[in-house]
Amino acid sequence: MRSLKVITYATLAMTVTSAQLAMSQSSPSLEPTEAGKAIYKRANCFGCHKWHGDGGGGYGGAALSLRATELTRDQIVETVACGRPGTAMPYFARGAYDSSKCYEMSRQDVGDQIPPEGGVFLRGPEIEAVANYVMDNVKGRGDPNYDECTSFFGKVSRVCDAFKTAPPTGASQSAEPSK
């Protein structure tokens, strides 16, 4: 009886664990926004495309605006998986240009135009999740606003204060720093 109990708990633990695994793998279809947003942060899409996806400049390169993009969902998936040759957009799929071709090219074909390797590798469902996130929350949106900002960062920080009121027109040289 005692040993049966132990086995049962063990089985339960394993079931729970694999259920969690199953959930995380299928969560993109359950909660596209949260899963995709998490990947947007973890894979550092944020660093170049910025939290609002509008891209711009910076040391990450002249990242394109995901708000203004005309890419389809499938094209976004491909771009995340394979990067963009000749640019700083990295590839995030393990084996890109090696075990699977990208844009019909192998590593040899793409040569020195091969994009950088992403800081993390993303699995298929993760790439789908972040593409869903961009399609649902970023593409086609107008100027970023306070609600979008707090949805990304939460409300604890001052980071979204700039969106509370109309932004100032530019640096004011005569402004005294607050004491």
Partner: protein, 592 residues
């Protein structure tokens, strides 16, 4: 009952007071207060490292000889300490360590990337943390507008206070004994994209601060806070306002100067004989769209000589007018006195510039004396005019400078490779100078990278948004070196190639130089030959400068180790092996 309680309370209070009196920190002896007198003579306290750059001349030279070229091979880890500040914020996944430790009377003061200040008792052959002051930075707020890492380059000592900055733009004064914050003031405004990463410079009871943010369209400045009144004494903008001297060098119709950059995020130096502070200024904004801002863009890419009392600009020298390459000139000015060829005294200000040239100016006048390339590959200009010190292609009558037009980023040359890359040359890591050998040691990044120009558009100029006119990527391998320049001749005397870019900075002693590599090594080189005499792999990313000091008569070398800064985010493709280096936060202390 009540009177018993009262009596009991009274005796408790008295006992506590007695206890407090016993454990009260020793009343500050005159020697414990850091005064202007001590700062002027900081090198006389040979066992201390009292100032960020060691002394007002920024030589980072220590006269200590206990550790020397005969015995340095026996240098070992004496003790280590883990610090905090590794967590991320904003766009940064982790903080890092770029700080220079300050050491006074056996006490070490260091900062982590999020601005916590640690006081460590180094006596007795080990490190004991006495207190930690955590400024509780709003991490997302500051981290979203820090272009180049969560870093804090160190503290300054004044009176009985430890003066520090925070990434979110504050100056904080912490009681040296108790670790309690006595006051703080907001100097920089992250709402405008301003952050602070540099250590303060203490001059005549003022703390002088610089600002970062030229990638976010700020207007740079240098500010002096009166440490007695805690009020701002002066603030000198590096970008002139409308109608002010220098405004004629912004020839656009878009008010580019309002977002003109000119950051000041490396601690300056000071010559008390002429009461002058020397400070470098950074790139104009937008970094790579020089056609948006035709004109020389004063006072970006310059060294400024400021009257210490008023902040007024006495002279300026601009290294790269209308800079198209993001070649910040923020670097420290090392002040060196030599005898000229005719026995005349030469008072120099040396700067190893991002653009790959090492310059000597006459620091009394700003006159160019010499400039020499210190990198292997330099393609952005054919060289310097030996009279003016400007790049030979510079044409004062042309508003937009093309330099070597075949490689210079431009709206007509949108994707191009430049050498050195925009990271330099030399970046923030400091140089050091040996006054006997007259060798000036430069931590070199041997680089090229690729720039893509995007037209800057006024509608895109918003507070806290990047304003760079495009950006770089890094398809080329980047390595490093140490260059020793003989300052008497203005020529490179010696060079040591290194596998990785120099991201740590230099320490010079009578017969050694110390530095580090981001792959983990701390090393000691022969000061003359640059032959490596000792090396230790810390297992972490070394991107902070080493210091040396004595405690109880014994000499130590200390260095902070914790991968950080811009490299592992923006430039890592050029050094793929460094992807394996994990974030961390440690103080390493070495001794024989």
């Amino acid at each position: 009952m009540r009177s018993q309680l009262k009596a009991m309370l009274k005796s408790i209070v008295m006992a506590t007071a007695a206890l407090a009196a016993t454990y009260a920190v020793m009343p500050a002896r005159a020697g414990d207060q850091v005064t202007q007198e001590r700062l002027l003579n900081s090198d006389k306290e040979a066992g201390d490292w009292l100032q960020h750059h060691k002394n007002y001349s920024a030589t980072r030279f220590s006269s200590l000889r206990g550790i020397n070229k005969s015995n340095v091979k026996n240098l070992k880890v004496a003790w280590t300490m883990h610090l905090g500040g590794v967590e991320g914020g904003g766009m940064w996944t982790h903080g890092g360590l770029e700080g220079t430790p300050i050491v006074e009377n056996g006490m070490i003061y260091v900062t982590d990337g999020w601005g916590s200040v640690y006081k460590i008792d180094a006596r007795g052959g080990k490190g004991t943390l006495l207190w930690k002051m955590d400024p509780k930075i709003d991490r997302d707020w500051a981290g979203a507008v820090a272009c180049c890492g969560v870093d804090n380059r160190g503290v300054a000592l004044w009176g009985n206070l430890v003066i520090s900055h925070t990434l979110d733009g504050r100056m904080i004064a912490t009681n040296k004994e108790t670790g309690q914050v006595e006051w703080q003031r907001q100097i920089a405004d992250p709402e405008k994209g301003e952050t602070i990463t540099a250590a303060p410079l203490i001059v005549k009871d003022m703390a002088i601060s610089g600002v970062a943010g030229a990638e976010l369209g700020i207007q740079g400045w240098i500010a002096a806070t009166d440490l007695t009144s805690q009020k701002e004494k002066w603030r000198t903008y590096t970008i002139p306002g409308k109608g002010e001297p220098g405004s004629e060098t912004w020839k656009d119709d878009k008010n580019a100067a309002a977002s003109g950059g000119g950051s000041t995020w490396i601690t300056g130096s000071y010559d008390p004989a002429i009461d002058t502070v020397f400070w470098g200024t950074g790139n104009p904004g937008p970094n790579w769209d020089s056609q948006y801002r035709p004109g020389d863009n004063l006072y970006t890419e310059s060294s400024l000589a400021l009257d210490a009392s008023t902040g007024k600009i006495k002279w300026y020298f601009q290294y790269t007018p209308n800079d198209p390459n993001d070649y910040d000139s923020v670097a420290e000015n090392v002040l060196v006195d030599l005898s000229g060829p005719k026995g005349n005294p030469l008072k120099l200000a040396l700067q190893a510039n991002r653009n790959g040239f090492a310059y000597a100016l006459d620091r009394t006048s700003g006159k160019f004396l010499w400039g020499v390339p210190f990198v292997k590959k330099l393609t952005w200009t054919k060289g310097l005019n030996q009279e003016t010190g400007k790049p030979v292609e510079y044409d004062p009558n042309t508003p937009v400078q093309r330099y070597d037009a075949a490689v210079t980023p431009h709206r007509d040359n949108r994707v191009t490779d430049i050498c050195p890359g925009n990271m330099g040359g030399k970046n923030w890591p400091p140089t050091a100078y040996n006054p006997s050998l007259k060798f000036w040691y430069i931590p070199v990044i041997e680089s090229c990278n690729r720039v893509t120009v995007r037209n800057a558009v006024p509608e895109k100029l918003k507070p806290r948004e990047f304003w760079t006119g495009g950006g770089p990527n890094n398809p080329f391998r980047i390595t490093g070196s140490i260059a020793a320049i003989d300052v008497a001749t203005g020529k490179i005397a010696r060079k040591l190639d290194l596998p990785f870019p120099s991201l740590a900075g230099m320490l010079a002693t009578p017969d050694l130089v110390f530095t580090g590599q981001p792959s983990g090594e701390v090393m000691a080189l022969d000061a003359k030959s640059l032959k490596k005499l000792w090396e230790f792999n810390t297992g972490g990313g070394v991107n902070a400068p080493p210091v040396t000091f004595t405690v109880d008569g014994k000499q130590f070398v200390a260095i902070l180790v914790g991968l950080g800064g811009a490299w592992d985010k923006w430039f890592i493709e050029s050094t793929p092996e460094l992807k394996k280096i994990q974030p961390g936060s440690m103080l390493y202390v070495f001794a024989l």
